[in-house]
Amino acid sequence: MNMLRLAWKSLLNRRSTALLTMLTIAVSVALLLGVEKMRLHARQSFANTVSSTDLIVGARSGSVQLLLYSVFRIGNATNNISWESYREIAALPGVRWAIPISLGDSHRGYRVVGTTRDYFEHFRYANKRRLEFSAGRAFEDTYDAVLGAEVALQLGYQSGDRLILTHGLGADGLAADHSDKPFAVSGILAPTGTPVDRSVHVSLAGIEAIHINWNKIETNPTLARSSSDLRPRAITAFMLGLDSRLLAFKLQREINQYAREPLLAIFPGVALQELWDLMRVGEQALLIISLLVAAAAMVGLLAVSLAALNERRREMAILRSVGASHLHVMGLLVSESALLTAFGIVLGLVLQNAVLLVLQPWLVDQFGLLLPLGLPGAREWATLGGLQLVGILVGLIPAWCGYRNSLADGLSTRL
């Protein structure tokens, strides 16, 4: 007899325990897949954030910290660097391009990046891709702003809309608004899947303009606009593109020993690697926990199968009495745990995607992690295959125990 069919019917007969067992497996599968997906995509999306940049320069601090605030817009700079230092280094021979970055303001929770038009020219992400405009163009006027794709989408801005920047990084209302200096949207960038999507880009002059007379009551925007000198005094960091990679080491040493002020130059790739090393422990802890949860689910499956075995002695004996061999009975029990595991895995896949669907906006918001929905990759399939195999092997244990129950025992009805 087709043992799978019999196993299916038998499971249906005990559907509440079967469902619970399946659910346990599903939760463990969802956790396992979730952790794996997070691991993979955190890496990928981090690595995609910056490309073709040879050096990142900021005030002296930790290299991971510099990487985090300059590229990922996570955390804050402890110090600024002077405009003069930037100008000097950007003018050094071998420097192909330089992008200054000035951070510290925000707009409704999104960070404002003060920069130059070189940003749109030279900044690269993912596999050397350049920024594209989905609408409008780069800022020209002091009060122009270029929005990342997500900012525009979430806040519903279109080219020409006006927006008010906030001093500091707090939410609206808590920090002081630069309400006297409204900006106009000049362009919107195409989605990149990087923190660029969540940034508001304005010119350095724009940043200076909103900070001129800051703290003084200044209500006339035309006055600020007409201020002749909007040259920035300080920036937060800058990125450098060099003519040759070989130059990078020499330049890094020079910058790190820069006389005018303490600076730090980092290779983005090296700093990323350091970041991984920091995250690896946590990553592995998560992985181990999820593996343990999967193991617990399998032990649960075994416990349920063994417990049921005692109640099912009669069922087994009946099947044997009408001709089922030991092999058939074994096939039945193995089919059952295989079925439970298989359905658990399928349910786990669904569950994981369902949870992700709900959490996705929050993950993007909080960590900039865009975890895509869908089926897992080859590595995860291999893990799931391993789990299925364990599920089958787990069925062998009650099968072996069931084998030892005598037929006569099972058939004599116990009152």
Binding site: A317, I318, G323, A324, S325, H326, L327, L411
Partner: protein, 234 residues
């Protein structure tokens, strides 16, 4: 020459924990095509005897041959195989599988035994047709809801499903433990007619245990349980 499908020699059986043996039989044979009616009061050991004759219970000592094979020489697996292929057993408690529907219950032996499956196909064209044939003879027109779970059938209906399960695939030996205990007169007649028709056609051997003395008329050979007991009861 007579071919004996069941042979007993110096057989003893006692239940674990019992002080004296329950069954003892020095010599007993049942040939192919022979039908035996066994009588005996309740608790006298009739079901125990049938348990031995189907290889479900093992004798304490002595020899039991089924289908001309000494059961003591067979492994548990081979004994299961022998029972699956050659014996149809109508249990006193029916022993239906509660989560299968009635047709699935009936065809179960054909699923586990290739031989029974082939027999059913040879006689009726297909296993499903064999089940249909048995159902048609055991139940009145429209009596059955085919899709009802077996647990929802009446006791008498369950008994007839158990009978059909034992008869499908033309086993060489039919063992029936009070198969008419829950049947009304009509159902009992239908069952007995079908049983003997099948036995006639396949030349099968029958051991039939019953309290109902009127059924004895159908049998050439009768035995009291005392013939198999260690100590006779009156």
């Amino acid at each position: 020459m007579n071919q004996y499908l069941i042979e007993i020699e110096n057989l003893r059986f006692s239940w674990p924990g019992a002080t004296a043996p329950l069954l003892a039989c020095d010599s007993f044979c049942l040939a192919r095509g022979e039908h035996l009616f066994v009588r005996g009061p309740s608790g006298s050991g009739k079901s125990t005897l049938l348990g031995l004759l189907t290889g479900i219970l093992t004798p304490e000592s002595g020899r039991l041959s089924l289908m001309q094979q000494d059961t003591a020489n067979l492994s548990a697996t081979r004994r299961d195989r022998l029972r699956a292929d050659h014996i149809g057993y109508i249990f006193q408690q029916f022993n239906l599988v509660p989560y299968l529907d009635l047709v699935e219950n009936i065809i179960l032996p054909c699923r586990f035994s290739q031989r029974r499956g082939n027999n059913a196909e040879r006689t009726h064209g297909s296993i499903a047709a064999a089940a249909e044939y048995l159902l048609r003879h055991l139940f009145t027109e429209g009596e059955l809801d085919r899709n009802a779970p077996v647990a929802n059938l009446s006791v008498g209906q369950q008994q007839r499903v158990a009978a059909a399960r034992a008869l499908i695939g033309d086993p060489d030996i039919v063992i029936a433990d009070e198969p008419t205990s829950s049947l009304d007169f009509g159902a009992r007649e239908r069952f007995v007619d079908l049983l003997f028709e099948r036995l006639e056609e396949t030349n099968a051997t029958l051991v039939f245990v019953s309290h109902d003395p009127t059924l004895g008329a159908h049998f050439k050979r009768e035995a009291g349980i005392n013939e198999f007991r260690a100590q006779a009861i009156t």
